[in-house]
């Protein structure tokens, strides 16, 4: 088989590095308006063309990548953190805490995710932090469910019993014995979910709920340039390709991780 997971990991690394060091690679500023070069097709000076305000698209795509990737990764880690916390609490304490938390999880999973994310993000003034909050407030639920299952099955295992017998307190059992067992699984799941986060992030910024102009994100570049799709398709083409490529790599990586670690094959609760 083709090691598609490894290849995508390499591509993702390249995309991230290019985005991070973008100021060193380009001589244009992402937001500088240049009225002499409006809507230029791709050329040597502007490899991906320029947009409606004469800004270099390659530069904006690289700068946009910083925001899009950073927001998605932070949101995914945030969801992981909340999910871990809720899952550990819910699985370890059980009883009423479990019932309440799981009811909340069910409630969130009952909403169509993008509608809920839109609902949350209109609460706050639009910006990258809003998108992070919106993404993670929707995303933590599935993490919590998986972690709870993991904790439930770990709770019965001999090493937890041994820890209890030696006289470890609950807090110590959770933090020292259970948490380290959950983190690898949580990280794998984060990798699997990141593609979805990239897509939702770009959808929110496409809808104008993310970082505000003139800041470039992939989603907002598409929405602000879509009026020129017929006369200047390159303005819409490259950010879309970047979203798709990044999401694709994350999805391939996620598939690979899932096959390796055998998640989602109903080993939730034994």
């Amino acid at each position: 088989m083709v090691p598609s997971g490894r290849i995508s990991a390499c591509i993702l690394l390249c995309i991230t590095i290019l985005s991070v060091i973008s100021p060193a690679l380009t001589r244009y500023s992402p937001d500088a308006i240049d009225l002499d070069s409006l809507r230029l097709p791709p050329s040597l000076q502007h490899p991906l063309g320029t947009d409606n305000k004469g800004r270099d698209i390659l530069t904006r795509v690289m700068y946009g990548g910083r925001i899009s990737i950073a927001v998605s990764v932070v949101a995914a880690l945030l969801s992981m953190g909340i999910g871990l916390f809720v899952g550990l609490m819910s699985g370890y304490i059980g009883g009423k805490v479990d019932t309440i938390f799981m009811a909340l999880v069910d409630l969130i999973l009952a909403f169509p995710s993008l509608l809920l994310a839109i609902g949350v993000s209109v609460l706050f003034p639009p910006g990258i932090y809003t998108v992070m909050i919106a993404l993670s407030s929707v995303g933590w639920a599935s993490f919590a469910r998986l972690m709870r299952g993991q904790v439930l099955s770990l709770k019965e295992s001999p090493f937890v019993e041994a820890a209890k017998a030696v006289g470890c307190g609950d807090l110590r059992i959770v933090l020292v014995h259970l948490l380290p067992q959950c983190i690898p699984l949580a990280l794998v799941m984060t990798g699997m979910k990141l593609g979805g986060y990239i897509l939702t992030e770009s959808a929110l910024s496409f809808l104008g709920l993310g970082a505000q102009p003139p800041t470039a994100t992939w989603g907002s570049m598409i929405s602000s340039n879509r009026a020129y799709i017929n006369s200047a398709p390159w303005m819409v083409l490259s950010p879309g390709v970047m979203i798709a490529l990044t999401a694709l790599c994350f999805n391939l990586l996620g598939d690979d991780l899932r096959d390796k670690f055998d998640i989602g094959n109903n080993r939730d609760v034994k």
Binding site: L107, A110, F111, P112, S113, L114, L115, I118, G119, V120, V122, L123, F124, P125, G195, L199, S202, A203, F206, L207, G208, L209, G219, I222, S223, R226, I229, N230, P233, V236, L237, P239, G240, I243, A244, L245, A247, L248, F250, N251, L252, D255
Partner: protein
């Protein structure tokens, strides 16, 4: 209740947006009374719920039309779009998923798997724009936007169908691969049943059970996608209505749309559970035992 809390916390005062920033205080006060914004939040909430129980979702701040009526009149359009997308995605997804499972590891399997993961990774608002660019602006065979008959419906349905097709194909593939290893397939082969009827009767019947769930769950993503797709293609449905509500801070509209969307989603899930009972006798037995 959640949706109400959410929309109440929205920044921006609808009254200002409605009458403009520069209007006199008297007008602002008058409008505020008209839409009931002068009352306390709790009283607004109680008023809203009592209206909701009666099946009334209030009136739009802008058009002053009843939100429920607007949703009702736009809903068939969204449903038509979703139905169109399903009509494209379900048969092709099942067929190609089956094909790729039966020829596992072959060229067709690789192509189908690659294409489906690609479709899952492309954002619908971008693929929609590309489809529009190609079919209506370059080839000029279909209208780029508007609401109407089949020629208007085709492109947005196709856009919505791409990720749905991918999900269905992937699930069908995994599910068929799962069923193929079951003992009863070997039994059927040993009895000398023709390969084609094994495929049709034994494998498909069992493999379709998870697919039904996914088609139902996918309805949520149709609703998600509808907001984006309808906005792009100018399709006069609930999705675009939601988007306009968000842009104009038209609270009754946003609330109404989110409530209807969620209710629909929950109802579809319920329906899937019911269908499950008919498709899979094992679920029925388990249920009866409890």
């Amino acid at each position: 209740m959640i949706t109400f809390a959410l929309t109440k916390a929205l920044p921006g005062d609808p009254v200002y947006t409605l009458v403009g920033e520069r209007s006199s205080p008297e007008i602002i006060e008058k409008v505020r009374k008209e839409i009931g914004a002068d009352k306390g939040t709790v009283r607004q909430y109680i008023g809203y719920v009592s209206l909701l129980i009666k099946g009334d979702m209030g009136r739009s701040y802008y058009t002053n039309r009843k939100v429920f009526d607007d949703i009702k009149s736009k809903f068939p359009n969204t449903l038509a779009l979703a139905a169109g997308a399903m009509a494209i995605a379900v048969p092709s997804g099942i067929l190609l998923g089956l094909l790729s499972a039966l020829k596992k590891g072959g060229i067709s399997d690789r192509v189908i798997s690659t294409v489906s993961i690609l479709f899952l990774s492309v954002p619908v608002f971008w693929s929609g724009l590309m489809i529009m660019l190609f079919f209506s602006l370059r080839l000029k065979i279909l209208p780029p936007s508007g609401t109407g008959g089949l020629q208007y419906m085709l492109l947005p349905s196709l856009t919505l169908a791409l990720p749905a097709f991918a999900t269905i194909a992937r699930v069908t593939r995994v599910s068929v691969l799962d069923v193929v290893t079951m003992p009863f397939i070997r039994t059927a082969r040993a009895k000398g049943i023709k390969e084609s009827s094994i495929n049709a009767l034994h494998i498909m019947k069992n493999a379709l059970i998870p697919v039904v769930t996914v088609i139902g769950l996918d309805f949520g993503s149709y609703l998600n996608g509808a907001v984006l797709t309808e906005t792009i293609f100018g399709w006069d449905g609930v999705g675009r209505f939601t988007m306009e509500g968000i842009v104009k801070r038209d609270y009754p509209v946003i609330m109404g749309c989110i409530i209807v969307g969620t209710m629909l989603f929950v109802m579809i899930n319920l329906l899937v559970d019911v269908i499950y009972h008919y498709v899979d006798p094992r679920v029925r037995i388990h249920g009866a035992k409890r």
